[in-house]
Symmetry: C2
Subunit: 422 residues, 2 copies
């Protein structure tokens, strides 16, 4: 069975001047993938009539599904909607349901003072040759067009609005309109081995994979996710064969596996803590709240996260965490002894089962010969036992910080799992 | 003078299955923009021979500069490099300098145990028809090709490596190879007025702009940046005319302006604090360390940021911040009284001039009729004076948290500036 292909076209000068990072395309690609639709190309063009027109022409030669985002906001220079109207041979008319919704949003939700603006009312105009897709959270409706067997869907670029339209309107309609092959993904999340070393181990595994399966290496912050994807017209056979292949894959990377699911490190830590009914606190210096922020990004994190002391200044390490000034003096603020005392100090202050403490130099300044930029001491543990580790990265501030935070969470994972210290 | 155009082609299945958000393209576009080069299109294709080949063919018809990222890693299935070799009519040879660098990185920097892998050594092979661009931080070199007057540059997709190559090799060479027009940007950063209301005020301003200038609206998290961009072959005249237009623009949005520069909120707060020699601490409940993380993302933040107490659990509000249990009982944990006490409590614990405190419900669960999801109390102030504000958002957890953090920083800005409370 042939792959069902789609192309994503994003419209907007902000994507071409680099002011906006395109997160919409990745989200759309994931959702299409789950529905068995493969994104063949992604194209970004500016708010420019010729560029949009030729992208519609060109991309519709390659894929039967064209998803378009952006170019529909109230300040988008009115290029995209009239262009779509002309491209599909229609005229602009007011959509009554959308108009009522625009009034509702402005009066009841946004509670904007003053009269409605002409440019906001124009949001309710749509080409009379499209199927209007109702946008619950915003003023710009989605529009579904068909031309020569190709489906074109235009959506606003605001992520919340695009996501609502995709979930409620576009995906259900695509599933009815097209028959996509079954698609299955399996992911194993590893840490501690480089991408090329894993690839070396998996050379033979990859070579024997059937032609409808593919392995992707997805490295980020020292972690590597291995994602096995299979497609088939027979969903039952596919499930069985991908499960078999995935079991083989997992057996080959068992020593570096965190979990055989597509979780983030913080999602996995949250699960470990929830399952054991334990709680954690953090004492962060160099990571500056990054670990707390990662843990509290998980819905319901109050079940396992108690709180933190961000002891960025030395004085806070002394006054709040009770680290002796003499120890900081003798050992240095970035040291195994200080980070161990920070951990003990936060467990004195906050009633949690486990704690994580960090102290390091993230750069660009502040490095010394003994403690260069990118070095950090990590402590994890409980009131009874502490595990420490010195890490050394060589990157920019934000990357050093992220890597230190991920490594600290990994050390907590190993501590909870009872793995021996390195 | 015509715009100098470039196209960015990104290669990799990970971009099409949505596992990776493409941050490279935005960064490249910004850097090209500063150099007077306009990104005309961005195209993403998979690790697929035909797709890459036709993208090279198609895009080189539209722009004289084609920048390619991705497809060069040690696990990238060896598609891109042999394809480039064939496309430009060369053969693969070992580049001695790159080979030595691969050895150096593995032995001295990565300190990988065991023998070098064949797939790592192959990183030193390059087509003999390219100019090799030295990659200081990684094993895959950049490659510069020319064909029919079009420049093609291939770079690895790892952001650190791509950025090093762009800065050290590609941009200097592009500036020598092409003559781009002068380009100037001016940005004013506003908060508190919606995009369409600002647009309404600026209708006449936009209408009178000369044809070589364009205004972009860049909304994010309730802030709107207005970016004026001008191009000209006469850099001196351009500077003068854009400064004049920018002064007019600024005068029209003065009431909602944070600063007439392209800064983030945290960069601006950092400047305010540095200029006045003041320091800040945070007491965060619902924002869970997000504000601390934002402030410590600024290099040198130890000059103005002292630390935080993340009092996620109620018990931490009582034990560490000293909020009376009876007050929490009577007023509720999300209340003006509690957030005010949290602020006073953190200033008792941490010796800072100002503090920020937050308490709210970020969702998806935990909302009540009185305190729905997205509601948060914010307090900012000093030991002498406190300013409070209740905010109410209606989004998902991560967006509610970001918006609360940005609003809290904005309240601190207004407090420092001496603006009256709303």
């Amino acid at each position: 069975m042939e792959k069902m292909l789609a192309t994503i076209i994003t419209i907007g000068d902000e994507l071409l001047i680099g002011q906006t990072v395109d997160t919409n395309s990745a989200w759309i690609a994931q959702e299409l993938n789950k529905a068995g639709i493969w994104v063949h190309r992604r194209v970004a063009v500016g708010d420019d009539r010729d560029a949009i027109w030729s992208a519609l022409d060109e991309e519709s030669k390659h894929a039967p599904i064209i998803l378009i985002t952006g170019g529909l906001g109230p300040t988008a220079d009115d290029i995209t909607k009239p262009l779509l109207c002309e491209y599909f041979g229609g005229k602009l008319v007011v959509d009554q349901k959308t108009l009522e919704h625009v009034y509702y949003l402005f009066e009841k939700v946004f509670r904007r003072p003053g009269p409605m603006l002409e440019r906001n009312l124009k949001q309710a105009e749509v080409p009379d040759v499209c199927t209007v897709l109702f946008n619950r959270v915003g003023t710009a409706p989605g529009m579904w067009f068909e031309k020569n067997g190709v489906v074109f869907v235009s959506m606003p670029g605001v992520p919340q609005e695009m996501k609502g339209l995709m979930t409620n309107e576009v995906l259900p309609r695509l599933k009815t309109r097209f028959t996509a092959p079954a698609i299955e993904h399996r992911t194993v999340f590893t840490i501690g081995a480089g991408e090329s070393y894993i690839a070396e181990r998996l050379t033979q595994f990859e070579a024997q994979l059937p032609s409808n399966m593919k392995l992707a290496y997805l490295p980020s912050y020292g972690m590597v996710r291995l994602r096995l994807t299979g497609t088939s017209s027979d969903p039952v056979a596919l499930k069985k064969s991908i499960d078999d292949q995935f079991a083989t894959l997992c057996s080959k990377v068992e020593d570096v596996t965190v979990v055989t699911e597509d979780l983030t490190m913080e999602e996995y830590i949250a699960r470990l803590l929830r399952e054991s009914g334990k709680t954690v606190a953090t004492a962060e210096s160099c990571t500056g709240g990054t670990i707390a922020q990662m843990l509290t990004s998980i819905p319901g994190s109050s079940a396992f996260f108690k709180g933190s002391v961000i002891s960025y200044a030395v004085s806070v390490k002394e006054s709040v965490l009770g680290v002796p000034g003499s120890l900081i003096e003798s050992e240095g603020v970035v040291s195994e002894a200080v980070v161990t005392q920070m951990l003990k100090g936060v467990l004195d202050q906050i009633d949690a089962d486990y704690a994580i403490a960090t102290s390091g130099v993230m750069g660009p300044d502040g490095g010394t010969e003994a403690i260069p930029v990118g070095a950090a001491w990590i402590a994890v543990g409980s009131r009874e036992r502490v595990r420490t580790k010195l890490v050394q990265f060589r990157y920019q501030r934000s990357l050093n910080t992220q890597l230190t935070a991920i490594n600290a969470l990994n050390q907590l994972r190993l501590f909870i799992k009872g793995a021996p210290a390195e």
